[in-house]
Symmetry: C2
Subunit: 527 residues, 2 copies
Amino acid sequence: MPVKLYGRSIVEGGPVGDDGGTFRAFNPSEGREFGPEFHEATPAVVARALDSAARAFQQYRAKSAEEVAGFLEAIARNVEALGDELLETARAETALPSERLKGERGRTTAQLKMFAGVVREGSWVEATIDRAEPERKPVPKPDLRRMLIPFGPVAVFGASNFPLAFSVAGGDTASALAAGNTVVVKAHPAHPGTSELVARAVVAAAEEAGMPSGVFSLVQGQSPEVSLAVVEHPRTKAVGFTGSLRAGRALFDAAARRPEPIPVYAEMGSVNPVFVLPGALRERGAEFAEGLKQSVTLGTGQFCTNPGLVVGVQGEAFGKFLDKTDELFAAAPPGTMLNAGIRRGYEEGVERLQRIVKRKAGGAAADASRTQAAACVFSTDAATFLDKRELGEEVFGPSTLVVGCQSVEELRRVAEGLEGALTATIHGTPEDLREYAWLVRVLEQKAGRLVFNGFPTGVEVCAAMQHGGPYPATTDARTTSVGTAAIKRFARPVCYQNFPQEALPPELRDANPRRLWRLVDNRWTKD
Amino acid sequence: MPVKLYGRSIVEGGPVGDDGGTFRAFNPSEGREFGPEFHEATPAVVARALDSAARAFQQYRAKSAEEVAGFLEAIARNVEALGDELLETARAETALPSERLKGERGRTTAQLKMFAGVVREGSWVEATIDRAEPERKPVPKPDLRRMLIPFGPVAVFGASNFPLAFSVAGGDTASALAAGNTVVVKAHPAHPGTSELVARAVVAAAEEAGMPSGVFSLVQGQSPEVSLAVVEHPRTKAVGFTGSLRAGRALFDAAARRPEPIPVYAEMGSVNPVFVLPGALRERGAEFAEGLKQSVTLGTGQFCTNPGLVVGVQGEAFGKFLDKTDELFAAAPPGTMLNAGIRRGYEEGVERLQRIVKRKAGGAAADASRTQAAACVFSTDAATFLDKRELGEEVFGPSTLVVGCQSVEELRRVAEGLEGALTATIHGTPEDLREYAWLVRVLEQKAGRLVFNGFPTGVEVCAAMQHGGPYPATTDARTTSVGTAAIKRFARPVCYQNFPQEALPPELRDANPRRLWRLVDNRWTKD
């Protein structure tokens, strides 16, 4: 029997607030609203969520690593246990195919379990110990021990394009909870039912794991005011966000204007340039065109790492690649987008390109009433691209712009003029890579992840992943929102000077009871 | 023969710009201007500095670790070689005693050498490797390798209270250069001659070490416009600052408003609360009073870690401590402050306290014409302190406020109401510490460093140091401006996916030619 949705925010374990404005979920592929009314969180609801998160924080951060890990694993179990109802609700709200959603659910639970493992292992706290030298002249050296501790309540904004893996129990929530922070999630209004189901799974896990009820809350809302209220609340200590540049920048600005500014980790997507070098074009231009088309149209182009720009040097092989690309995109079926707003944004982006760039090959006709979009590829020359800054801006959806350069020198200028990106890709032979070694140096300055002979879509969740990049890809290029290192975003160092052993956190005691990797007197050791 | 000062900014190895407004150095202990006129950097000079820093960056970051380390060591040698002229210029400009300046010079050169060591050892780049699993199902795992790389030009603002160790070749410059960034220093206008001498030592070191001339520039200026121009220049990629809350916040705001926001590491001082617990008061109240007075008056109170607030529970021992403190402060001689502006700020702060708090014991009369300030101690009850927020704000100089609480519960409220601080200190017996374990939990949320039975002045330069803290102590509590970890502020991660070995930076190659500590397939190893 399906769960009856509250249609409200969830604070301290239960539904609250039925006095805000309302909105309903929208089925993009059917073009109609459905399900219950959802009430916007009022300022009072937002305040209750943050106040309870602040109270719960003191209890939550006193929990052992084992208890926190158990909590994360309970969330994973409960999300899994939502079964088909979760998948069906998410499919109705996002039009993402069931298989994709199943995969995303697997990724979500895997992330929760991965962070449980990170917490259990424990070395993420970067324990650093410099022992006292009481005999040192002219002054004795004190005993100094430093480790990372959590911030306090973290606000997480659900992303529209990952209703599970970057939403209520997604990577931001998992890493913030793993670091010992309490969390208030602002649900994305495009999947309020999915958000509520997952939130209730988290709430149940908190209860099972004996966590304080304020450890997690969900606030619903469609209007920017709710988002701003969450960021501006004095109890909020950090923000995680995945979404558009406009929304991310608005939250960043609000956080920077606060009496006490707080960090905002906003991942705002990017054009993800792909450089295709002469050897690769000669050896496998058609294969590259096929891979490009697949990467651009995957998930109807709704990935932060979607390759929106392809750059190469003009010539015979480049011309052939372009023809092949046109052919492939012309044959591409339309795809259903996540919601009407995203589709509108895509159409506007395509029109913007079309005003400047004449050459375009588009896929089959798209049905706007079913939120469909047609894949398309544009092409232009480097002179035009360099002249029109707006050609370098992201168009979120299944389109890409191919830029042909007249010379290597022009290609260099295109590379040097790029904005910050999550990824930058090079296709080439080993010889190409040697010849274009300078291009790697340029792209290192532009992106967080450099891909060789692959496509940027598909973001591995592991220790070495860097999902981030210079502005406007993110508001904090020093961090990643994917992989184990994401936990570092939600912690800060504290140093204990001359504390007796028993007053130190276990992570910093001489005995190293948790067998952490630590830097002791400048030497890495587990002893 | 003394060096003839240029009195100008230094860009690309030489003096530039004589068309800006002028200002002169001021000898605080003699109350008069001296030395040559210094020209303010015009916007054109600032642009030249940043443009040359951006050009030099591509060459500088290609230098080997050994070359960068050699450059840092050459700076240390050249600063040392400035000899007495540097010490005398600094003494005239800051009124800091020669012994203190000698110590500070030693710290400055030691920091440069320390970072040379960090660069040579190399593990600071946090190399992380996840090797490919081509057979993995359903999709192969790519090869992913991540490390830290530099940002680009870093702007460093010299501090008035550390004319050497936190100025031109101080900790921010040393750590930014060590990470591979080029640097533009905005000299503090209170010690322009000292700044020029050190800048010329850095420029000479760059030449000796074969570095591009844009690797380091110095801009002079007294007006806020020069500082803002440096932060707002599009080539600037990060900012290091030590100084007042007002100036630091202004730079932070300017950086956040930029089209491309950049990180600002502003260390803006704090009240550095000291909690004195009952056992410590009983056992050694007089000794504590003596230590407190010494810490408060050290360097005429001009340290970011100056203890400006003392909190205890009222009672007989507390009363005796208060009397002893009054006696000690009454006997304290006046001290010369760094400059007239700082003295004025101190007088205003003291007057602000005096309007609210009646009880005050002050030191000997101070001579304003010689920029002197009298040490003083205020005392009040917790009810007044909790009622008047302004009592919790930093007064930069040799004063402290003692707050007597009627109960442990009141002490808890004082602790919980504190603003962010660089440090928080507890004096107590081991029994006190057990009883007040909750106080440690509260103070962890308020400060970057917790000191037990010591005083916060005196900041050890080592791996475990944390010199930073929640706002308003700094604009980025995730970082430290002292110790080896300071280098992490000026770098960001980049991940290489499926790159051939020879195209990877040496730090990420299988062979590990530099023998770094690396996280390989989730295991720390030097192999």
